[in-house]
Symmetry: D3
Subunit: 171 residues, 6 copies
């Protein structure tokens, strides 16, 4: 299949943070952010594959910045690497200061999706050809993440995960 660029699947979902999505401190619930990111990422995966896509996994996500009620939140998702029938989607989340408009990073996350046909059977997707430096960096890191995922699932032995192992050997 003909390769595609991450920009072919780039998906931007800008929306307000509403009262029914906030916790007692009037900040966005972590779970609501996870749900928005899933929706944006599933659209990116569909744009890359032109198939029905289902969430296979979400990587570790840390919530370091509170997102207050009434914020404008922008979720940007793009496929960072494809593996046969699955796609890693990298998601950047930005929030804007209501008054001066300054934009700051609110979060990052990495979801994996599988492309399926109408009966739910996995189907092949095009490979990714990264263009920018950031896309190339994420493309390379996606392989290490894939290895970690296989190790954690018991489908790869830790000492076979060559690049990943180096991280923990200190050498």
């Amino acid at each position: 299949m003909k390769p595609k660029n991450p920009s072919d699947s780039r998906t931007i979902m800008t929306d307000l943070v509403l009262p029914s999505e906030t916790n007692p401190l009037n900040n966005l619930f972590g779970g609501e952010l996870l749900a928005r990111m899933d929706r944006a990422a599933s659209i990116a995966a569909r744009r890359h594959s032109r198939r029905i896509t289902v969430t296979a996994s979400v990587n570790h996500v840390a919530f370091n910045h509170a997102v207050p009620l009434g914020s404008v939140l922008t979720v940007e998702a793009a496929v960072s690497r494809a593996f046969n029938t699955s796609m890693e989607v990298y998601i950047d989340v930005w929030m804007e200061d209501r008054y001066n408009g300054n934009r700051s990073k609110a979060n990052e996350a990495i979801y994996t999706f599988v492309a399926v046909d109408e009966s739910g059977k996995p189907t092949e997707v095009p490979p990714i050809e990264p263009v920018t430096d950031l896309e190339k960096e994420r493309f390379a890191a996606a392989l290490r993440r894939k290895q970690l995922s296989l190790v954690l699932a018991g489908k790869m032995k830790p000492n076979e995960a060559t690049e990943l192992r180096a991280l923990f050997m200190g050498g």
Copy 2:
């Protein structure tokens, strides 16, 4: 502070899967499941700490079982270990066959919450004293997960994460 058992915070959230939560294959969106688990886990964290709690992170989650429209889904959350101001919450998700009532595991996830006061400042929480074998196992593993989280965040050197490192050294 006086220790508490995981069962003191156990939270059960049983509910139906509704049409507005499903994808084109009529299965629950991964993101909606992440949001439900976050809500159940935040209640467990509140029950343990009696404080406002905010999501700090969610561990890697794999979605291996589709949850069809109309399913009865049970999300069970309990604090598995406490660390000063943070709590790891372990979540088990079960689905029931509509006709024979067989209950099967639909998912597992691990969220971390921080207890805060009304101004959002972190406050201490009681330690956990595990009771059952499963609770003891999850309590022990929580330390390794904490180390992995610190390593991934660059707050601990990989070779200081003693137990975690053993996993990748093969001895």
Copy 3:
């Protein structure tokens, strides 16, 4: 059909009270509580019958305790008695104090469900065998409630409702 215990159908639905469910005093709308209880009770009825279940009626419900925004609310439902194709479901609602965790009774309600097949035709359900004292008491009272329901619907003459009548005879 083989009898079942009320605990076989026990359904626990714990969730937060969100801003979109509250009235101008920031307390849960009565109607939203009725909807949550219906959902929990319908799951209990399905667990007892393993059929599609539809709400047949809800008994008189009094709202004596306000449930504030941000409360943790637990709805517990279990089938208390079965009558051929219908089931009485008894529902207990608990709320927790956000700070000291004290749990208090917020409400009680009794719904009746009918089990139906895919075409909507009523189908037989297993009988109930109560175990605990509370279950036995509710099982016995369910018969009187059934009689009252039949009397109010004009399907039973008041003087045939033996147990019910005694209540009003004062002797």
Copy 4:
């Protein structure tokens, strides 16, 4: 206070039945209907009292007619009788055949509301002066229902509920 007529508080809420409100047979959940009726009735109670109103109770409700997805449903609520600080609201629910437009009774229900001030303290409401035959009939019956409610709550002895008792004495 100056009496008001039931028509002064009449509230009409016409709306569609949407997919997120329906059960596996594609009919409106009983609980969703209870929630709609509560919202319409609370507006009627507010129109009568010009106060904040909170649901005090809902009488026994039977669900005898399925309301299919896509139906036009009309909920009509009006205060039928006032008692010092509380109001009985009588609710009629109509559904329309999508094709021939025939309107049929889908349900009836009776809710009781209390008028309160900003601090939640009950406050007096105007009396009701029924005008039409139907309004007069409902006004009279409201007293018997009030007695039944007091008896069931243990606040009135059965033999003091004069009119109610007659129903069960058979003369």
Copy 5:
């Protein structure tokens, strides 16, 4: 087809303004009001035509009055004129002062709907016969609005829109 009166399709949708529908000033979002009006108007169009109806257009709408959180809002819609397969629906929106009950005009809008069969093909609808003075006035104006709509869509030359043109000729 036999003509119908506007009152045959009159649809009243009274409901509260809830927190999830309000902007940072705690007033109803314009877009939420547009959505409510569309739902009420589509029911009016269905009542007139007894067909599935789809929104064809909405005329210019000005939002001159803020509608605060907690308001009782009444949307009244009725078909004002029919044109072969389309219907103009005139919508009046009223809000009530929470304390003194005074009712004031919050908005007006004009939507156009097309009646379609199950396959989405437009089908004929009955003509309108206006009865009251207001209905007659709106019926007459509907023709000018139809012309404006055709001119704006490039389907009628401005100088053929006889009545409309007079407005801008100043004589």
Copy 6:
């Protein structure tokens, strides 16, 4: 105030069409599209003004293309011209074919917003400096639309709306 370009306020809101937003033909309700466009446009207006913004009006909108359930819908909004305290926002709506990914125009709309301070009082906004040809064309047309709006509101005499009048004079 320093002028801004339309691209400074450009807002992209991509999202799926969900079951609770669709009519009996399984297409997006017109009213739901109007609500989404209002939310995107209000964010664009806020980005231009860095103020709270409230919807002042929406121009005539035609719904010429059905948007099926499950579609990916992209709403793009940008301020096209500013007038003292108000802003015209031009909105383009695109839908994608699920299979071949072809993108087609689903709709266009024009909303006007007013910038206000915390007390709701209108405040000045920066002027717009259009850059691209399309932006210049929309900037110029915005003045004619402003005139039409003033004429329709009775705040400008038709013969003073110089450019607008020409349209209907045929020369």
